[in-house]
């Protein structure tokens, strides 16, 4: 255990049912699964990149972390959504604990690592890095070293919600290729006991190309020329995985994991249009064209609740004494939540069919609730619909996305496989918070007493 090496290859949004469907074309993943354990991994609530990766690597749920999205309320004012950076994570993540124990760590592109922390090793920060002029590596000298070898670091694919699919294909391949190239370099040149990389490529690919292969997708066009592109991309990823693993010492433990999966997006619910229809939200001037809610003057004295857009829907209640111009009496808060949850649960599409919305209060989801969560979490159509925060849509059901073409939503289960231990076979019931204690146990380190996950055996 003293000399143990652990490698985590994170593939953001890799969908387990697609791995299963195309497994015979994915020899490297297949080998890891056959030589180890594998299964679906239940993501966080909500199942989105931030907080999912931080929950995975700390072992604590979003409630404990106080992270409910990549932007969270910093206070009870109306416009104080603060970005979730590395500094927002107050719990130690695996690499912090390993660094404290003298283990060498190398991290590449892991979400929520900007600004980079001091670690016992090397770190290149992830997706929410402002731009390449930022200091995105630890130590600082690593940045120029990588630029010398690989050119400018690609933080993300530009404008992935686009109809220019040819450009998008080219850019996602370039993005993933560079990250695997850097990974091969770091894994070869640097000293490490724990190596972890996350490639955001699969997430961008699903959002950009899901409708082309999925015949159940409402926008699917039979016989389109991109119908095989997602499978081809999975094959490409498997190839890069195989190339990378050839550079890893044979006895290493290999973990391939995704933070959530993906599913077809059936449409969007313009939640603020719905709230206006129901009399919960009032605006001073209804916009003539599609306009984000934050750019609209809200009549707070007449507003009981408002919503935010995203892959899941957040409802905030305008509470008297809490929000600056609150109107819902704190004594009526519970009843009001019950009323609005009841209404949302009965929301119907234009054909009169129930959309299948699922609502939660933060206390329903988490052992601990830190920070300022939304008052209600809503999985529109149980995540088959996106939340559209903008107004000017015209109705509350829409098949266009206010932020550009996007044909996939997140799903609750990601992919997990681990080889290099004695264990074999399928594992059911794996939770995303189980990964951190699993890694610590591989190094013979006790997890913190209050950690929410348990080691996967």
């Amino acid at each position: 255990m003293e000399d143990r090496k652990v490698v985590i290859i994170g593939l953001d949004c890799l969908e387990p049912t697609l791995v299963e469907r195309w497994i015979d074309d994915l020899p490297n993943l297949k080998r890891i699964m056959e030589e180890g354990i594998y299964g679906k991994i239940r993501s966080t609530d909500p199942p989105i990149t931030i907080p999912a990766w931080s929950a995975m690597m700390s072992g604590y749920s979003p409630g404990s972390l106080g992270l409910y999205g990549f932007r969270n309320r910093g206070d009870f004012s109306y416009d104080a959504l603060k970005l979730a950076t590395s500094r927002t994570v107050k719990k130690k993540r695996v690499w912090d604990i390993l660094s404290d124990r003298g283990k060498k760590v190398v991290l590449l592109g892991v979400p929520q690592t900007y600004p980079p922390n001091r670690v016992n090793g090397q770190m290149v920060s992830g997706w929410l890095t402002p731009d390449t002029s930022a200091q995105y590596t630890y130590p600082t000298s690593l940045k120029s070293e990588l630029v010398d070898v690989f050119g400018e670091y690609i933080i993300d694919v530009k404008d992935f919600r686009t109809d220019d699919k040819e450009r998008l294909l080219r850019e996602i391949y370039a993005f993933s290729n560079q990250h695997f190239d850097i990974a091969e370099y770091m894994i070869t040149k640097k000293n490490w006991d724990f190596f972890m990389m996350v490639d955001m490529g699969p997430d961008r690919f699903h959002h950009g190309f899901w409708k082309f292969f999925d015949t159940t997708h409402p926008k699917h066009v039979p016989g389109n020329e991109l119908s095989d592109c997602v499978r081809e991309y999975y094959i490409f990823l498997d190839g890069r995985l195989g190339r990378l693993l050839k550079k890893v010492p044979e006895e290493s433990v290999i973990v391939v994991v995704s933070d959530h999966g993906a599913q077809p997006m059936m449409g969007g619910v313009a939640i603020n249009e719905w709230l206006i229809d129901k009399g919960y939200l009032a605006v001073k001037d209804y916009p003539k064209e599609l306009t984000p809610i934050r750019k609209i003057e809200i009549d707070w004295e007449k507003t009981k609740a408002w919503g935010e857009g995203g892959y899941y829907c957040r409802i905030f209640v305008n509470v008297k004494g809490r929000e600056p111009k609150g109107v819902v009496d704190p004594g009526d808060y519970d009843d009001f939540l019950n009323e609005i949850i009841d209404e949302i649960s009965n929301m119907k599409d234009e054909s009169g069919n129930l959309i299948g919305n699922v609502c939660f209060r933060p206390g329903d989801l988490y052992r601990e609730v830190n920070g300022i969560p939304p008052d209600i979490f809503v999985y529109l159509g149980n995540l088959r619909y996106r939340s559209v925060g903008s107004l000017g849509v015209g109705g509350y059901i829409t098949y266009d996305n206010d932020t550009g073409p996007d044909d996939a939503n997140h799903s609750f289960y990601g992919f997990f496989a681990m080889s290099g231990t004695e264990s074999r076979g399928v594992r059911d019931g794996i939770s995303i918070v189980d990964v951190a204690p699993t890694v610590l146990s591989l190094f013979g380190i006790d997890a913190p007493d209050d950690i929410e996950g348990k080691a996967i055996k």
Binding site: R71, L128, K158, R161, D406
Partner: protein, 190 residues
């Protein structure tokens, strides 16, 4: 003295250090007097006891890796020097501001009451304030912005090796946040 900017400067220093990942605790004079030193008055003995208690807690915190910021009126040199010796990794910040400016500011309306004799033992009016002879940092809060004052404190902490400059440099700033928001807008997230 009251209104000299202790809490304001402390809050900025606290935020920067927290952003850089440090554990920080602020012992604000007003808060301490309602908890740790509840019942103590404003005689010299009680004031000294109050500052010694704050120093004691700061010592416990600093030896456990927490940056402790005491933002309290501490009028007597002797007890400040006592805490300096007890704590070791110590910076005395003199929030310097002329009395007339403080009277003019009078954020809490205390100077007016003190000058009218309604508050006894008021530092700088009816009680002495012994200016530090060799403070590590002097901030002129009538001439500087709170950010400039906080910068001086942080620079001294870096100079003395109490905090790491690389760690502070890597803390996210407003400019970074704006850039990230712009990127998220470009990516269609917001």
């Amino acid at each position: 003295m009251s209104g000299s900017g202790k809490s304001t400067v402390s809050e900025i220093v606290e935020e920067v250090l927290r952003d850089a990942g440090y554990k920080v605790e602020v012992l604000d004079g007003d808060v301490v007097r309602t908890n740790l030193s509840k019942g103590l008055g404003f005689s010299k003995e009680d004031r000294d006891l109050n500052i010694k208690r704050i120093g004691f807690v700061c010592n416990l915190l600093t030896r456990n890796g927490v940056v402790a910021i005491a933002a309290a009126i501490s009028p007597y040199r002797e007890v400040r020097d006592y805490n300096r010796k007890e704590i070791g990794d110590f910076i005395e910040v003199f929030c310097k501001c002329p009395l007339e400016v403080l009277i003019d500011r009078d954020v809490k309306g205390l100077y007016k009451k003190a000058l009218a004799g309604e508050i006894k033992n008021f530092t700088g009016v009816s009680d002495p304030y012994e200016e530090p002879e060799n403070p590590e940092v002097t901030v002129n809060t009538d001439l500087e912005t709170p950010e400039e004052s906080a910068r001086k404190v942080l620079d001294k902490m870096i100079e003395l090796g109490y905090v790491d400059i690389e760690r502070l440099k890597s803390a996210i700033g407003t400019e970074d946040e704006e850039k990230i928001k712009k990127r998220l807008e470009d990516l269609g997230y917001i």
